[in-house]
């Protein structure tokens, strides 16, 4: 079984999720035998091969082209298809980031391949690829198999560990690409979140606030605790729906699904669709005035009390730990 893994990078930086996919690919190749190829896309990206070295790839394909500088579904899909053919791979593996979740279905259509999206487990059973993936916003888990090959598989970020491994020096090959006329939907501008804000799906710590904060003006308490923990700010659906917080912060079934090491829910009662989005966190802390709030049923540690009083004290205590 040969595997091609797309290693996501943006603005000349490898995203950790890409290395997670590569490590998962190494594990599958080790189990079944075969070759693992890492695909890097971008413009002026020679330097990225250094980071991918020692991460388990047998070969690195460098797709370096001006039309790949910014994400383009069409040009990236074309390149992935070229690389699949060249590497004779049966599995195209990538991370289910915003980019990966867009690219995977397009690549599957182009390759006429089955698609397994946002998987949290992937293994070979009797030579067949079997995965688990959360469905219904994480309220149920579905087990699926690739009934045919090739197959495109995207992996949920922050689930698969990055494992450094000692393999022979990978071969590095530049892909020859003809992307003339491929791009119709062209990315013309990108902007970073103000202050390099960390996304809830990428953070090791997420501090989320809900209606218990009582006013949008009190969310600085959430931001300060998140900053002290070097984490990201999350929010419950009600406070997003009433416009206190941006949609990009919403954790839950119609928002983002997160799996941080530490999740702190303050002033969030724990509606079923919120719990679906954060239950796979390693450690959950809940702060809520209502001891009967459903959030305490999934929390490892709970404090019953007013989030507005507890948050500043907790932030100070965390800062004191640092010193």
């Amino acid at each position: 079984m040969n595997i091609l893994t797309y290693i996501e990078s943006r603005e000349g930086k490898i995203r950790v999720a890409g290395l997670e996919a590569l490590s998962a690919g190494r594990r599958l190749v080790d189990a079944a035998g075969g070759k693992l190829t890492a695909l890097l896309l971008g413009s002026g990206i020679d330097g990225l091969t250094e980071i991918v070295r020692g991460c388990g790839a047998d070969a690195i394909y460098l797709a370096d082209h001006p039309d790949l500088a910014l994400y383009s579904p069409e040009a990236y899909c074309e390149t992935a298809a070229t690389a699949m053919l060249k590497s004779n791979a049966q599995i195209f593996l990538l991370s289910a980031t915003a980019l990966g979740r867009d690219l995977a279905p397009l690549a599957a259509a182009k390759l006429d391949a089955g698609l397994l999206t946002d998987c949290t487990e992937a293994a070979l059973e009797n030579g067949q690829l079997v995965v688990k993936r959360p469905v219904y916003g994480g309220r149920l888990i579905m087990t699926l198999a690739a009934a045919s090959l090739p197959v495109v598989v995207s992996l949920r970020p922050k689930i698969f560990p990055v494992v450094k491994c000692e393999v022979a020096e990978p071969t590095i090959e530049k892909l020859t690409l003809n992307l003339d006329g491929v791009i119709r939907a062209r990315c013309v501008e990108t902007k970073a979140e103000a202050g390099g804000k960390l996304d809830v799906t990428e953070a090791d710590v997420v501090v989320s606030g809900g209606r218990g904060l009582r006013s949008p003006d009190n969310f600085h308490l959430i931001e300060e605790l998140a900053a002290a923990l070097r984490g990201a700010v999350g929010a419950s659906r009600p406070v997003v729906d009433i416009g206190w917080r941006p949609h990009s912060e919403q954790v839950g079934q119609t928002g983002k699904v997160v799996s941080p090491t530490l999740y702190i829910a303050a002033g969030i009662s724990g509606a079923i669709q919120h719990l679906a989005g954060m239950s796979s966190s390693k450690v959950i802390v809940a702060i809520n005035k209502d001891p009967e709030a459903p959030i305490f049923k999934v929390a490892d540690y709970g404090i019953v009390g007013d989030a507005l009083e507890i948050l500043p004290v907790l932030t100070q205590a965390v800062k004191a730990l640092e010193r």
Binding site: L115, L140, M142, A145, K191, D300, L314
Partner: protein, 248 residues
């Protein structure tokens, strides 16, 4: 402007889900099915384009009988025409997208809207795949969209940023929360939706490339401990996070 919107019926996100006896799908009894929340943004966008540029908005839904409910919901919001693509069942994402593309093909749509994903299978695949089979570009999970009549600009978010795309029509757009604020159905719309005849086409069966093996409940998370009440509990919490959970 000739506008299409793809819609799907999905279980209410507050519904209590039970696994069916076959362990492959959910039990449908006692579940309230609604228009997939992300499709509401797609329908709303389709209606706004009609109001701005003129033309008609046609909604499509692939599925068995129940798909008609999603179509009637969209008609009640203000869509003009509806097409039910009757599914033979057992279609995977590729099969669904092919069936949708076959129904859309040749009808000269300038723009096709869909929700960014349905809240049942959470794949987000059918939109981009359908665009592929129609040989038109797509932009997914769009939070801001403008059109000058022949070209669009669209913003989509990624982890830690946002990216702006430009594209000529025709294009397929999948809607993310934040794109707009969906309207409620009007009384007139509801009356219209009840009487409106829904066109029916049959989808071709296709061999699935993906096989569902089973459906399970996620591992139950055990409730932990209440550390204490109020600010006095903070030092104890920190101690537990450091020494027991080892996350600080």
């Amino acid at each position: 402007m000739n506008i299409a919107v793809l819609v799907k019926l999905a279980p209410d996100t507050e519904a209590a889900l039970k696994i069916d006896a076959d362990r492959l799908k959910i039990a449908t009894v006692d579940i309230n099915y609604v228009l997939n929340p992300y499709d509401e943004y797609a329908v709303e966008e389709g209606l706004r384009w009609k109001e701005k540029f003129g033309g008609t908005t046609t909604v499509f839904s692939l599925g068995r009988e129940e798909a008609v409910k999603a179509l009637r919901n969209a008609l009640a919001m203000g869509a003009d025409e509806a097409v039910h693509i009757v599914s033979p069942g057992g279609l995977d994402m590729l099969g669904k997208a092919k069936a949708l593309a076959a129904a859309l093909q040749g009808r000269g749509f300038d723009v096709i809207f869909a929700g960014k994903q349905s809240v049942d299978d959470d794949c987000g695949a059918v939109g981009p795949m359908t665009a592929y089979y129609l040989s038109i570009p797509h932009i997914s999970t769009v939070v801001k969209l403008d059109c000058d009549g022949s070209r669009i600009t669209a913003w989509r978010e990624f982890e830690g940023g946002a990216e702006k795309f430009e594209c000529p029509l025709p294009v397929l757009i999948t809607a993310q929360k934040g794109l707009n604020e969906p309207r409620y159905a009007s009384l007139k719309g509801i009356m219209f939706s009840k009487k409106k005849e829904i066109a029916v086409v049959e989808a071709a069966p296709a061999q699935a490339k993906i096989e569902i093996l089973k459906l399970n409940y996620p591992p139950v998370r055990q409730a932990g401990k209440i550390v204490g009440q109020g600010v006095e509990a903070v030092p104890k919490l920190l101690q537990l996070l450091r020494e027991e959970a080892k996350v600080l």
